[in-house]
Each structure stands twice: as structure tokens, then as C-alpha cells.
Amino acid sequence: MYKKTRIFDLNYYKFTGSWAWILHRLSGLALIFYLTLHIWVINTLTKGPDKFNNVMDFLNSPIFKFLEVGLWGVILFHAFNGVRIIIIDFFKGAISHKKIFYIFIIIAFVLWVIGGYRLISHIQWVH
């Protein structure tokens, strides 16, 4: 008898549902890191205006702005896939889960483009 101890079967074909689940987990973990960072940044409010404004200036640099656009995408994915999960759990969504997934991906994408544009348009290219 041969027992392969593996917790991932990486070569198993990934259907829509598995992608949704994998990305949901990864985006969730990413957001927890972001949350820690975010709370730390807000905490600098208590350290006075200079410190906060310094941090903010640093975060307003183009690199962080682009990261923020990415963050917005991650949030949107996690949020809308979360809604999909709730629909599956309580509103008979399992039957058409793929359709729901694609609809939400489209909605999230549109919101991402709109929000992303607003975020980038804030960039002060020249200090």
C-alpha cells in the first residue's frame, strides 16, 4: 500500500470553483497583512502632524499608488467572491455558481478600473 502524504494535489485540474477558492484564500491572507500595515499607518496620527504627513507623502509616491490600485483589486475580488459565497450558502447559488462568478468578476473589474483611475489621477508626479 502506498500513501502519498500531500496536502495539495497541484496537478489536479483547476475549475472555476477552485480558482475562486484559491484566490479567495490568498487575497484574504494578503489583506490581513495589509490590515496590520493600515492600522500602523493610522496609528501615526497620534504621533503628530509631521510624522503622519511624512508617512503619507511616502505613501503617495507613484510606486505605492500603483500598489494601492492593486490593493483595490484584491479587496474587490475578495469582497465580491465573498458575496458569491453567501449567495451559494443561502440563496441556491450553487447551481449556477460559475455564472455568478463571472458576473461578479466583470462587476469587480469595472469597479476596479473606475476606482483605479481615480487613485492614479491623484498621483503628484512632481514633488
Binding site: I7, R25, G28, L29, L31, I32, L35, T36, I39, W40, I42, N43, L45, T46, G48, P49, F52, N53, M56, D57, N60, W72, I75, A79, G82, V83, I85, I86, D89, F90, F91, K92, I114, G115, R118, L119, H122, Q124
Partner: protein, 151 residues
């Protein structure tokens, strides 16, 4: 009997809270159903608040964040209540999510226990940092600060 799952009914989510109070959190949480439900309820709350947060902060506001702009916003008790609620739900939702991942993949007892304590410690410290920030900032006297009396 019947097609009750057709429509979400709120009676049981309210009932759940009662159930937790009656049976005690430890017993119900061992089963896994109550965290599952709270995960979903908190998700809905977070969804709403984050969207408001993002729209008001990033989509509608002009220019970069400046210290006094943020602080003046945090003078509103409603805003702070919302922030507090967001802090609680996000911490629960996020850390419970991490715990679920840990439970799925970590089977070594010691490591599991360590990660569990880590999650608790991180959760509690982030909670206090967050709450203290809200309290402290909302108590700032803007006029004095602007005058630069306090460093």
C-alpha cells in the same frame, strides 16, 4: 420542512446570538457552525463599510491625505463608531480566516497551538492599537494642535 433555504431568514441569525449567550461560546464554537455564521455576517458588515470607506476616502475626496483633514473627520462620533465596528469585524473575519487556513493545513499539535496563540496575540494587540488610536485622535484639540503647542 419545506423550502426554507429559498429565502434567507433573519430569525436564525438573531437566534444564534441568543444561542451563543445561552450555551456559551466555547461549546458552540467547537462545532464550527457559529464561527461559520459569524464569518458571513461580519462579511456583509465589512462589505458595506469598506465600500463607504473607499468611496468617501478615495473616490470622492480630492488630493492626498493631510493630517488635519483626517483628524477633523475623526471628530464625528458616528464616524468613530463605524471605524470601531469595522475594526472589530475585520479583525474577527480576517483572523478567523487565517485560523481556518491553519486548521486545514497544520496538523502538528504544537505548531497549531503556537499559531493559535500568535493569532490571538496579534488580534488583541491590533485591537488595542486601533482602539487607542481612535480614542486618542478623537480627543485631540485641533486648535491647540494647529498652534503647535503640543509636539
Amino acid at each position: 420542512m419545506g423550502y426554507r433555504w429559498l429565502s434567507f431568514n433573519f430569525s436564525y441569525s438573531m437566534g444564534t446570538l441568543g444561542g451563543i449567550m445561552k450555551k456559551g461560546f466555547r461549546e458552540t464554537s467547537k462545532k464550527g457552525g457559529i464561527p461559520w455564521l459569524i464569518q458571513r455576517i461580519s462579511a456583509v458588515i465589512i462589505f458595506v463599510i469598506i465600500m463607504i470607506h473607499f468611496v468617501t476616502y478615495h473616490l470622492l475626496s480630492e488630493g492626498a491625505f493631510k493630517w488635519d483633514k483626517v483628524v477633523s473627520k475623526m471628530k464625528s462620533p458616528w464616524f468613530n463608531l463605524m471605524q470601531f465596528l469595522l475594526l472589530c469585524t475585520v479583525l474577527y473575519h480576517g483572523l478567523n480566516g487565517v485560523w481556518m487556513v491553519v486548521e486545514d493545513y497544520i496538523h502538528i499539535k504544537g505548531l497549531r497551538l503556537f499559531l493559535f496563540s500568535l493569532i490571538i496575540v496579534v488580534g488583541i494587540s491590533l485591537f488595542f492599537v486601533g482602539v487607542l488610536t481612535i480614542i486618542k485622535v478623537s480627543n485631540f484639540n485641533l486648535e491647540i494642535l494647529r498652534a503647535g503647542v503640543i509636539k
